[in-house]
Amino acid sequence: MPEPKDVRAAVTAAVEAAGLPLTDAELEAFVSIYPALRAGADSLYIEAVRYEEPALVFTPVPPVQG
């Protein structure tokens, strides 16, 4: 999957959409880590996964409250 052409714009949009009050320095930290994080997520879109079910389980019976 291609990386966004403007990483800063992509990160800024995601952070603003989430309502996170990052400082400028914190935003820069996110911009710096984003390419590796994005590449890691993209590495999971491989043909071998094409017909896999997600490892998620839902049961309609509520669990006992602990």
Partner: protein
């Protein structure tokens, strides 16, 4: 002050032989905490009075001929993200509502009490079990007993440092990406992340719902087996908890690895950037020992290793941001500076990415199971470095360290970290034994056999020698 035994097993034997009472043992570890904890930062909350009361009850039981098992009368620490009825649970955070967990024992704590354990206090953690220490927040910064200028690892920092320093004989830790095993590694002790679902995790503040595990930390694999035997088993309050039968872990410790099939994983570990060559050599020595002890050792490669690490990261980011986003929006400054960065990164990965990570997880579970089918366990380093310095710690540096714990959270497999030597500077080094689902007995057997022939796990920390003298 009495001499404090080295291990939980030795302490349990002394209690039964009558050479030691639980009250005397508890008084000794309380005195040790008085002397050391100002430097170590092991405890957030000490429960001296409650501990002495529990110790007196354990002694009364011994006198009456009641023996609840090897934890009876043994001082144990509990990580402060796990609820205890008689002390607050803070998650080392200003964020967690003090009403959370108030007056309640998590199932694991209730099981410890029922086994007669003496809970001495709540131990320091990285905030919400993630990130790095933040000295600007009103909580102790944990220090490594091998070198007070170094980090004990995280996030079960106080549990690891406390066992190493002899402030208790076992502890509860939690592990979402290595938080039992890395403090065990850096503090020179033994720690087990059990199979996902083996131990109920209700009553524990979450970090990554599908990655979180509670497990034992202690000096030895035998000590961990004794604790796991108490912790393991189904509890209806945790919907992810397994009904699988709990085998007798202590009885599985034969002292032999003859015929055990071990896959040594070098290819994804030993050439990692920043690996300490001394650590690589220590790992090779350990692998050679298993051959000499009669194990059937072969070279293996974990398939999709880097992708497994990436899927763990995506999963943890998504799950932790889900839990924290409301507070992050309104109380950003109340989080530690490293925590807020760590638990907000789910905002920059997508919902589809999270589901894709779970689809990849299905694939990874299958191909790793196939790789492990002809084996009993895998062997690999926990980390190829000693404990890092506290000064300058940040999340970026963490990403560049040669640590190898995350894959076993994504796959939910049992993983034991145990000491394998020391760096040139005298800091502990650690390897991992990874087993098949619910095969903790085999993992502990392998670790125990190694520890019967080595003494790395019994070495005393050098960083507190002057303080303790």
């Amino acid at each position: 002050m009495i001499g404090v035994p080295s291990t939980l097993t030795e302490a349990a034997a002394a209690l039964r032989s009558g050479t030691l009472s639980s009250v005397a043992l508890t008084e000794a570890v309380i005195a040790r905490a008085d002397a050391l904890d100002g430097d170590l930062g092991v405890y957030i909350t000490r429960m001296d009075n409650e501990a002495l009361n529990a110790a007196a009850a354990a002694d009364r039981d011994f006198t009456a001929g009641i023996d609840r098992g090897p934890l009876q009368g043994i001082p144990i620490g509990v990580k402060d993200i796990i609820a205890t009825r008689d002390a607050p649970t803070t998650a080392q955070s200003l964020i967690l509502n003090p009403a959370w967990g108030a007056g309640i024992d998590a199932p694991v704590v209730a099981r410890l009490r029922a086994a007669g354990a003496v809970i001495t206090g709540k131990t320091t953690t990285m905030e919400f079990a993630v990130g790095m220490p933040d000295a600007n927040k009103p909580f102790p910064v944990p220090h490594n007993p091998w070198d007070l200028e170094r980090w004990p690892g995280g996030s079960s920092s106080g549990s690891g440092a406390g066992v190493a320093a002899g402030l208790f004989f076992g502890a509860l830790g939690t592990d979402t990406g290595g938080s039992i095993r890395l403090p065990a590694a850096y503090c020179g002790i033994t720690g087990l992340k059990p199979t996902y679902g083996r131990v109920p995790k209700s009553g524990c503040a979450p970090l990554g719902y599908s990655l979180d595990h509670i497990g034992p930390m202690a000096r030895s694999a035998r000590d961990c087996a004794a604790i796991l035997e108490v912790l393991a088993g189904y509890d209806a309050s945790d919907p992810t908890c397994s009904h699988a039968a709990v085998p007798p872990y202590l009885a599985a410790l034969t002292g032999s690895v003859k015929g055990i099939r071990i896959g040594v994983e070098r290819v994804n570990h030993l050439t990692a950037p920043n690996a300490d060559p001394v650590a690589v050599a220590a790992f090779e020595d350990a692998a050679a020992w298993f051959i000499s002890a009669g194990a059937l050792v072969e070279e293996v490669a974990v398939p999709y290793y880097q992708e497994i690490r990436s899927a763990n990261t995506v999963t943890m980011r998504g799950e932790s941001t889900s839990y924290h986003l409301g507070d992050l929006r309104t109380r950003w400054e109340d989080y530690g500076v490293h925590t807020s960065k760590a638990v907000s990164q789910g905002a920059i990965v997508g919902a589809a990415d999270y589901v894709q990570a779970q689809r990849f997880r299905s694939l990874a579970r299958r191909v790793v199971a196939a790789m492990m089918e002809p084996l009993d366990v895998l062997l690999m380093p926990t980390a190829l470095m000693g404990a890092p310095r506290l000064a300058g710690l940040d999340h970026t540096s963490f990403m560049n360290w040669p640590t190898f714990t995350q894959p076993w959270n994504l796959l939910g497999l049992p993983a034991l970290a145990l000491p394998m030597g020391f760096t040139a500077a005298g800091l502990p080094l650690s390897m991992q034994v990874v087993g098949k689902p619910f095969a903790e007995a085999t993992v502990l057997r392998v670790g125990d056999a190694y520890q019967r022939k080595t003494s790395f796990h019994l070495e005393r920390p050098t960083g507190i020698a002057a303080v303790a003298a």
